[in-house]
């Protein structure tokens, strides 16, 4: 028989909360704040730029002119116009060329580092690639301005070496190390058993890579390219220095263009706070924010899909 009521006693102390308990709670709270702050900051930034930009979108914005016109004349005293078609074309052409430059480079480098290089060569290369990724963008811009510019003038016999070609190459070289690192991670995530299974069937090294490893790591590789695109799209300083800064839809690789990011950087300091010009620049910011967000989100989703498989 069980007794009806269990005897309670306080003979052992189970209620005392010592330092360990409070430390644990404090750390839990701090880590929570740290984690939540990232979200709060992102939302804060978004709210800030939309607040400044929305006034323009609601007020002076003419959507057809905004996306369809080449005329970006925010400082015109008589009739300011805000057409960003030229800026979009500049960003798109430069980012596009950058991808043409960096995708073959970085995939090749990732395959070499991940599948061919061994031991010290491999470790050295990885460190070097990471070092490349850490070069500040102003240094890349400087290289574009003072090294690539005269080179392009010499080789192609054109009057100016700043433009789509110059900034595309510079941006491509900038994006390549990050893409290489991520692509190499994607290849490393492919289990060795896949390689062994294919090798045991008599597949050559190249067949193993091309038919088994690359398809198996496909999602990670796509993510690497997308993050590279995001990097190129959002880059400002190098583009500012190497594009030549003129608003137009490029018809040749030697044409000078300007990018969304570079325009904001160049003009925000001069635009009176609260003016239409100032707010229009913030609208560009919203556009950049949304596009980069979509690119990164897509990359993230692709990576997650890779992880689930």
């Amino acid at each position: 028989m069980l007794t009806e009521r269990v005897q309670l006693s306080t003979s052992i102390d189970l209620d005392h909360r010592g330092r360990d308990w409070y430390t644990d709670k404090a750390v839990t709270f701090l880590v929570f704040v740290g984690g939540i702050s990232a979200i709060v900051l992102i939302i804060g930034i978004f709210v800030f730029i939309t607040k400044e930009g929305l006034g323009f979108i609601a007020g002076s914005l003419d959507v057809r002119e905004f996306f369809g016109s080449l005329a970006w004349r925010p400082t015109s005293p008589t009739k300011p116009t805000y057409g960003i078609l030229g800026l979009i074309a500049g960003t798109a052409s430069v980012t596009g060329l950058a991808m043409v430059v960096s995708v073959p480079f970085s995939l090749g480098a990732a395959i070499f580092i991940g599948e061919f290089a061994t031991g010290r060569l491999r470790e050295t290369l990885k460190v070097l690639v990471e070092l490349l990724a850490a070069i500040p963008s102003v240094v890349w811009g400087f290289i574009g301005l003072s090294l690539l510019n005269p080179l392009i003038i010499d080789i192609f016999d054109v009057p100016v070496g700043l433009g789509v070609l110059n900034s595309g190459i510079i941006l491509g070289l900038m994006a390549a190390p990050i893409m290489t690192t991520i692509a190499e991670d994607a290849l490393k995530a492919v289990p060795d058993t896949y390689r062994e299974a294919a090798e045991a069937m008599g597949a050559t090294k190249w067949q193993v890579i091309f038919r088994v490893v690359l398809p198996a790591g496909r999602n990670g590789l796509v993510a690497a390219v997308l993050l590279g695109v995001g990097r190129g799209f959002g880059e400002t300083m190098a583009v500012l220095m190497a594009t030549g800064n003129s608003i137009k839809i490029p018809t040749s690789p030697f044409d000078s263009v300007t990018a969304l990011t570079a325009t904001i950087a160049a003009e925000l300091g001069d635009a009176p706070v609260g003016s239409d010009h100032y707010r229009a620049l913030f609208t560009l910011g919203i556009l950049l924010f949304v596009v980069t967000f979509i690119i990164n989100l897509t990359a993230d989703l692709v990576v997650r899909r890779a992880g689930r498989k």
């Binding site: 090798e199 069937m201 597949a203 038919r211």
Partner: protein, 254 residues
């Protein structure tokens, strides 16, 4: 003649990993159309032995191999195209490896690598190999499903189908039943008995009873040495030359 039906002749084979001996002085013959069992405790050199037969050692920098292995009259250390050699020697690893592509592509991979492109020919190979691996009936409705999503036992049969897809003359199985349920194991064992008519099989196994069920002759490896080779039935009726073989068979050490 005895000499003609020797499929694989191994003489004085030494394998070491960076100076550490894994296998020493192994000499044996494997006959055509037999299942040759290899038993022995973990670390006895069984897997190293199998890897050498397929020249997989070239992927291990610190693995060195001495001695001679003659497959179908060719010394395999002298072949100029190691990939061609591997197409004649199929391997099934302990853990099933369904490659992350469709079931069809898993089996068609090797034929495609060797240049077969015609859909009809590939269809025929896929169906024949899956049938021989006793998997066809289970997957014929979903050949475009992912091979890596099959169950463990199915993936192992898929691996066998893949190994058969190039018509190998020699099939190496390394503890194939380690990740497979007993029922599937029995099905695969039946498959192997059938396959024996067409090719030669070397079966490395941890399960002494599996060797007894399948192998015509069995070799006992211990600590990197070949203790003895004999008719499997003789082993199990106690006709062994070495006391250690008997001890192992009867589970007196492990």
């Amino acid at each position: 003649m005895v000499a003609t039906d020797v499929k694989l002749a191994v003489r004085d084979l030494n394998i070491s990993y960076g100076g550490q001996r894994a296998l020493s002085g192994v000499s044996l013959d494997v006959h055509e159309h037999e299942i040759f069992g290899i038993i022995g405790p973990a670390g006895s050199g069984k897997t190293s032995f199998l890897r050498t037969l397929n020249r997989m050692e070239i992927h291990h920098k610190d693995m060195t191999v001495e001695g001679s292995i003659v497959f179908d009259g060719r010394d395999i250390s002298r072949v100029k195209n190691v990939y061609a050699l591997r197409r004649h020697i199929g391997v099934v690893f302990p853990l099933p490896v369904g490659l992350p592509m469709s079931i069809y592509d898993n089996v068609a991979l090797a034929p495609r690598l060797s240049g077969i492109k015609k859909k009809v020919a590939l269809d025929e190979i896929v169906e024949r190999c899956l049938t021989r691996a006793a998997l066809w009936d289970e997957v014929k409705e979903r050949l475009d499903g992912l091979g890596s999503l099959l169950s463990g036992g199915q993936q192992q049969r898929l691996t066998i189908a893949r190994a058969l897809s190039q018509e190998p003359k020699l099939l190496l199985l390394d503890e194939f039943s380690i990740a497979v349920d007993p029922v599937t194991t029995m099905r695969i064992e039946d498959v192997l008995k059938e396959l024996k008519q067409e090719l030669t099989i070397i079966l490395v196994t941890n399960l002494v009873q599996q060797a007894r069920r399948l192998a015509d002759r069995t070799a006992f490896f211990l600590n990197g040495e070949l203790i003895e080779v004999g008719e499997t039935e003789a082993f199990f009726t106690g006709e062994v030359k070495d006391q250690r073989t008997l001890d192992y068979l009867e589970g007196r050490f492990g």
